[in-house]
Symmetry: C2
Subunit: 362 residues, 2 copies
């Protein structure tokens, strides 16, 4: 179904914050994209409107039964002023995977991608320029029907908001201390850990809070069935470089299939660096360190791109990785992905998608 | 901290629906209770205001990271016009358990219970009278701070809304067909299944949808680690009567500690009917049926009170329980609990809490 996207202009634009003061996810642009769903009429009324509060009935099902999913991607401004997205079709696709698991009606991926391009084009002056800077794009869907019985909602709202952002973990790629969690779990096979639904993040907060109290920056999550196999780090995928080979947990139904994860794997294959997806026990990681073979550890995700791990604490024992320095390969991957995102290096994978200026809509 | 509850009166009251058309969770009363939290000022501004939509920033954390918890309890009108609640302090207590697990600041249980009593008293004319009828009370808390980084919110809103309701599963206590789920799971030890957070319900929808397509009314959930031990049925706790003894899954960290579950156990002990909390494998349940010893199966919960199970389908095999009839003990428990709730029989446990008329507030 071809639907035109309406545009309602606002009278006054906001003042834009200084790039140095951005942080992550603190500021929002002048406009947002909105589309509604009703069981009788499907997805309808796609529109770009002034960024403004949304009004929901207190019985709206999202507040009670958590039907809420989201995506995260970024728009970048290259040196020559080109605006580009990074593999956005992967996010559109994963949004529909999340919809399917959460019983939310499928969206038209092409329509949404077009809407995002139009919105980003309108907000092009909000894209901060420079290392680690981007316009973070957050599409999300929530159940809006007022009803207190447990069942899928008959009404939804899809929104896309934009947030000009600096680096997620500050300006330095500095390796962090990670606590391997043995009590709390993030997700389990048969559950919803492989999709981006709000409840996964709520469930992760307590372990994160307790780890911070012990002086760690993030949690490394183990599998819920045996408390043995590595799954994710914080809200990122994780990679280990052991004796020249890179390994990452195999997607098993409780691990999020990260876009950056996939990009890292493709990049390593392209470089002919050995890379393998496997079931990895935390015991094996500590044993590799014991043998002097654990060379690098890093997380991957849209927000931080690459986040090096400098120390792992498990079962009362701490190991330091690569003398708390960012590894050579970690740095090379970070430079390659951010280089492609910012148009500084060639994109052999066709990962970037240019956003044409949509002057007409203005 | 003692806080006065403000009251903002509305100009016009809504028309009340006919009791026969109520259903469950479809209508809301004229007023709601609201209280706000800010990290700098704590919980503040408790107030009873007209029931109206709430307005949130699109970046409000509840939409993205799912910090949302709730409770469910009921107010009843007895034959002599007394209004009473059923064990409300259990719900206040569990709300704080949910807060703790989800990194939401603790609430003042006494203040909230007082607020609920005042609200119910103001809305006394909304309480439907008769068998299976009640005023359903839904306290809930949601994260309201606009922020896109994953961490606990610094701002929350607590609301209590009221919904005049008929029986959750219609008017008859008719035994339903249940599918024992082997692929999807509801919760796992180390997760959040033992508290009432919105994500648990979102995660349960897909299995429920698929079970309905196969002709079953509800899901019986097995444990996530071994797919072997019985946990809950739908969003209720579950009981089995085997050879004269009643057994229910022992609370293990992934099962919700239901108020009705606890009431059933206390009632059975009071009656000197053997009752036991244990780890129960689905295999043992089917074996008990094979031996002719599986006498009754029922779910327990606030919404439905007691919901008899007439058929269990597991691993391609179906067993019929008590010839698809409600069991004698199930009926006796239902009659006792609803009798106490409606003030028709003596309450030897002091479970009911009277709501005094709060004329002053009007």
């Amino acid at each position: 179904m071809k639907q035109d996207i309406a545009f309602i202009q606002r009278e006054e634009l906001k003042a834009k914050p200084e790039p140095v003061s951005l942080g992550f996810g603190n500021y929002y642009t002048d406009y947002m994209f909105v589309m509604d769903y009703h069981i009788d009429s499907g997805w309808h009324d796609p529109r770009i409107v002034p960024y403004e509060p949304i009004t929901l009935d207190p019985a709206a099902m999202v507040f009670h039964y958590g039907q809420a999913i989201f995506e995260g991607l970024k728009a970048y401004k290259t040196a020559d002023g080109t605006i580009q997205l990074f593999r956005p079709e992967k996010n559109m696709n994963r949004l529909n995977e999340s919809c399917a698991r959460l019983c939310i009606p499928q969206i038209d991926e092409q329509l949404l991608l077009n809407a995002i391009k139009q919105l980003v084009s309108i907000e092009k002056d909000w894209i901060p320029e420079g290392e680690g800077m981007s316009l973070y794009i957050r599409p999300f869907i929530l159940a809006t029907e007022p009803h207190l019985g447990v069942r899928p909602s008959h009404q939804y709202k899809l929104l896309v908001i934009l947030s000009p952002s600096g680096a997620y973990y500050g300006s330095q790629l500095s390796p962090v201390k990670i606590h391997v969690e043995e009590h709390y779990v993030r997700a389990v096979i048969g559950g919803v850990g492989h999709v981006k639904t709000s409840g996964n993040y709520a469930a992760s907060l307590k372990a994160q809070e307790e780890a911070e109290e012990k002086g760690y920056a993030q949690i490394l999550w183990l599998d819920a069935k045996e408390n043995k196999y590595v799954e994710e780090v914080g809200s990122m995928n994780i990679f280990f470089k052991i004796n020249g080979e890179v390994v990452t947990p195999k997607l098993n139904g409780s691990i999020l299939p990260g876009v950056t994860r996939d990009s890292v794997i493709q990049l390593l294959k392209h470089w002919e660096v050995p890379v393998r997806e496997a079931r990895i026990s935390i015991e094996d990681i500590f044993a590799a360190h014991e043998r002097g073979e654990l060379e690098e550890v890093f997380g991957s995700g849209t927000a931080a791109v690459i986040s090096p791990v400098g120390e792992l604490n498990w079962n009362g024992k701490s190991i330091v990785i690569n003398e708390q320095q960012i590894g050579q390969l970690s740095q090379r991957i970070y430079d390659a992905i951010t280089g492609i995102q910012l148009g500084k290096v060639e994109d052999p994978f066709d990962w970037t998608v240019k956003v044409d200026r949509v002057e007409s809509v203005l």
